[in-house]
């Protein structure tokens, strides 16, 4: 049971980041517990979050939930703690204790504390400027448009950076491997592809790539234009279909 408690604690620590907002929340909760008069507000925004937090840290509860759902989503129990409304309400109440210009200063100070304690979402490194109205890389859109034959299945091997986006844009393009390749821990379930590995190499082993592409019924092979080739694709019956947004698209002329 000790280990389950430690596990839940580790999940909590991972969730709260620096812990500054969680600290503010706990302070707000205690302050509201002491000062809030409304029975209903106390029930919904003080007692209920406490019950949820107690459940979250309960080793037996954690053990049962983990057994059914695995380790990855236990943190979502913490979504049931209403951090945003409790903190916003506590901030407004604190402001109301002051009058005139003092209220404005307290409000600005509280806003500043929130900003300093949290982390601006737009600073996330996973954000980038959208290249189009689909929010998928323009290269994926243009390559799909070029090779797609509406109503018919086309199969193409793509480089890793385009894999997540191809089928978000076109359902008609199949791939010999998919997102499974991008998550290393999934390899324990047998998600491996030699073709994927070969297309990641700096120098492409053309003979083997062509052999695997044909084995897996690929109509096209796509890779970044600058890659070195061990031999020419043409020697093995593939021809350069087009170069699109910096990607060479080779088609199997034997099909």
């Amino acid at each position: 049971m000790d280990s389950m408690w430690n596990w839940a604690l580790a999940q909590y620590k991972g969730y709260i980041g620096t812990g500054m907002i969680a600290g503010l929340f706990l302070v707000a909760l205690v302050w509201l517990f002491v000062s809030e008069k409304s029975k209903n507000t106390r029930m919904v925004f003080i007692y209920m979050p406490v019950v949820v937090l107690l459940l979250f840290f309960c080793p037996l509860f954690a053990k049962i939930v983990r057994a059914f759902t695995g380790e990855e989503i236990y943190y979502r129990i913490l979504w049931l703690v209403p951090v945003v409304p409790v903190l916003a309400y506590a901030a407004v109440r604190l402001m109301l204790q002051c009058a005139g210009k003092k209220r404005l200063i307290v409000g600005a100070a509280l806003g500043g504390i929130i900003i300093l304690s949290g982390s601006l979402v737009y600073e996330s490194p996973y954000f980038s400027k959208a290249e189009n109205g689909y929010h998928v890389p323009e290269a994926a859109v243009k390559i799909c448009d070029a090779i797609e034959v509406e109503g018919e299945w086309v199969k193409a091997a793509f480089p890793e950076e385009l894999i997540p986006f191809v089928r978000q844009y076109s359902p008609w393009i199949n791939m010999p491997y998919g997102r499974e390749m991008l998550i290393s821990r999934w390899s324990v379930w047998g998600f491996q592809s030699e073709l994927y590995d070969l297309l990641k190499e700096e120098t492409l082993n053309v003979e083997r790539i062509v052999e695997l592409a044909r084995e897996q019924n690929c109509d096209y092979v796509v890779f970044a234009e600058g890659k070195k080739l061990s031999e020419s694709f043409e020697a093995y019956g593939f021809e350069l279909f087009d170069v699109i947004c910096g990607y060479a698209v080779y088609a199997d002329s034997g099909l």
Binding site: L87, Y134, P171, N174
Partner: protein, 352 residues
């Protein structure tokens, strides 16, 4: 064409939910003329209905067009029914013009600040893109449904046919994206990455606004301040990758984001309303229980874990309400509200 598409979006994401919600609001004390409540209530009902309709159709393996047809018809019927109920209510209760407090200059400025920050968030939702691997499952499921007119028939990651994946088929939120794409003619990727954030982010703030209006009852002039703090907490809520606030701003198109940012706040708002009734020694309105029932169903649409999370919430509420108000009669409607979660979790256990 774009004007028509925006018009259809407004119809399905604003007018129809408002129509449905207007009928329900007629039965909820204190919310009868609250457009925000109507919008939220309409959404809870419509997405619950979407779950009720889509799961059997997915299991049956019909075409996606059949689901679209069913849901369009139900949307129209429900909104017409909602408007009819509303008109009847208005005939019985002639509206006395509400004497509203005059909005002060300070309030106008604060609401303008809130509005400007909200507009910034909506602009950023279109201008920036967030690379999330899960999109290659959820958005692709929507793209396949709309493009091939099938339901969970093809493998999202690679293509090729597959047997029904019950875990995901019981929480078919991506089909709602596909539905919006089909009725508007927009690409599913556009609906997922731009349309949903532009609608769901304001919907989330609308629900927080409803919560704030109850918490600050009698101090409504402070509501814009509450809303600005809410915005700051959401915008600076990325203190880890896992917070509900991060999910709202980065993965709005995934069902789990709707779970954390629409279902959970709506739950707190609805039980707060229920608690207000209990505190006044009044019976909780049936319409509130019905909305909580819809909320549970909606949570199952969002994620297979959704039913469990709402069960935890209902358990926490039940325990706290029993201790606070000592009303054992609450147990029966609470169990009723949890039925959808029990049914979908049971189906998962049996069919997986």
């Amino acid at each position: 064409m774009l004007v028509l598409q925006i018009g259809i979006l407004l119809l399905f994401m604003a007018a129809i939910p408002l129509g449905v919600g207007a009928g329900i609001a007629s039965f909820v004390d204190g919310q009868k003329n609250n457009a925000g409540f109507m919008w939220m209530a309409g959404y809870l009902v419509l997405l619950a209905v979407f779950q009720f309709v889509s799961v059997p159709l997915v299991i049956k393996g019909v075409r996606f067009s059949t689901l679209v047809l069913w849901f369009v018809v139900l949307c129209i019927l429900l909104s017409v029914a909602g408007i009819a109920v509303r008109l009847q209510y208005m005939r019985r209760h002639p509206v006395l013009r509400l004497v509203k407090e005059k909005t002060g200059k300070r309030e106008i400025i604060l609401w303008a600040v809130f509005g400007a920050l909200l507009l910034l968030q909506l602009f950023m939702a279109g201008y920036l893109t967030f690379a999330d691997g899960d999109d290659s499952y959820f958005v692709t499921v929507a793209t396949i449904a709309d493009g091939t007119d099938t339901l969970y028939f093809y493998l999202p990651y690679t293509g090729g046919t597959t047997s029904l994946d019950m875990r995901h088929a019981l929480a078919p939120f991506p089909l709602y994206i596909a539905f919006l794409a089909r009725v508007t003619g927009l690409h599913t990727a556009t609906v997922a990455h731009i349309v949903l954030p532009v609608v769901f982010i304001p919907l989330t703030y609308c629900i927080y606004g409803l919560i704030g209006s109850r918490l600050l009852k009698g101090k409504s002039r402070q509501l814009p301040v509450f809303m600005i703090f809410t915005e700051l907490l959401i915008l600076w809520g990325n203190y880890s990758l896992y917070t509900a606030e991060t999910f709202l701003m980065t993965r709005t198109r995934q069902g789990k984001a709707a779970l954390g940012n629409i279902v959970v706040p709506a739950f707190f708002f609805l039980v707060y309303l229920a608690g207000e009734r209990l505190a006044e020694n009044k019976k909780v309105e049936k319409s509130l229980w019905m909305l909580l029932f819809c909320l549970t169903t909606f949570s199952c649409l969002c994620s297979t874990f959704g039913g469990f999370l709402t069960a935890v919430l209902f358990g926490a509420f039940g325990l706290c309400a029993l201790i606070t108000y000592k009303r054992w009669r609450l147990l029966l409607p609470l169990v009723f509200c949890l039925l959808p979660a029990a049914v979908y979790m049971g189906m998962y256990m049996i069919l997986k």
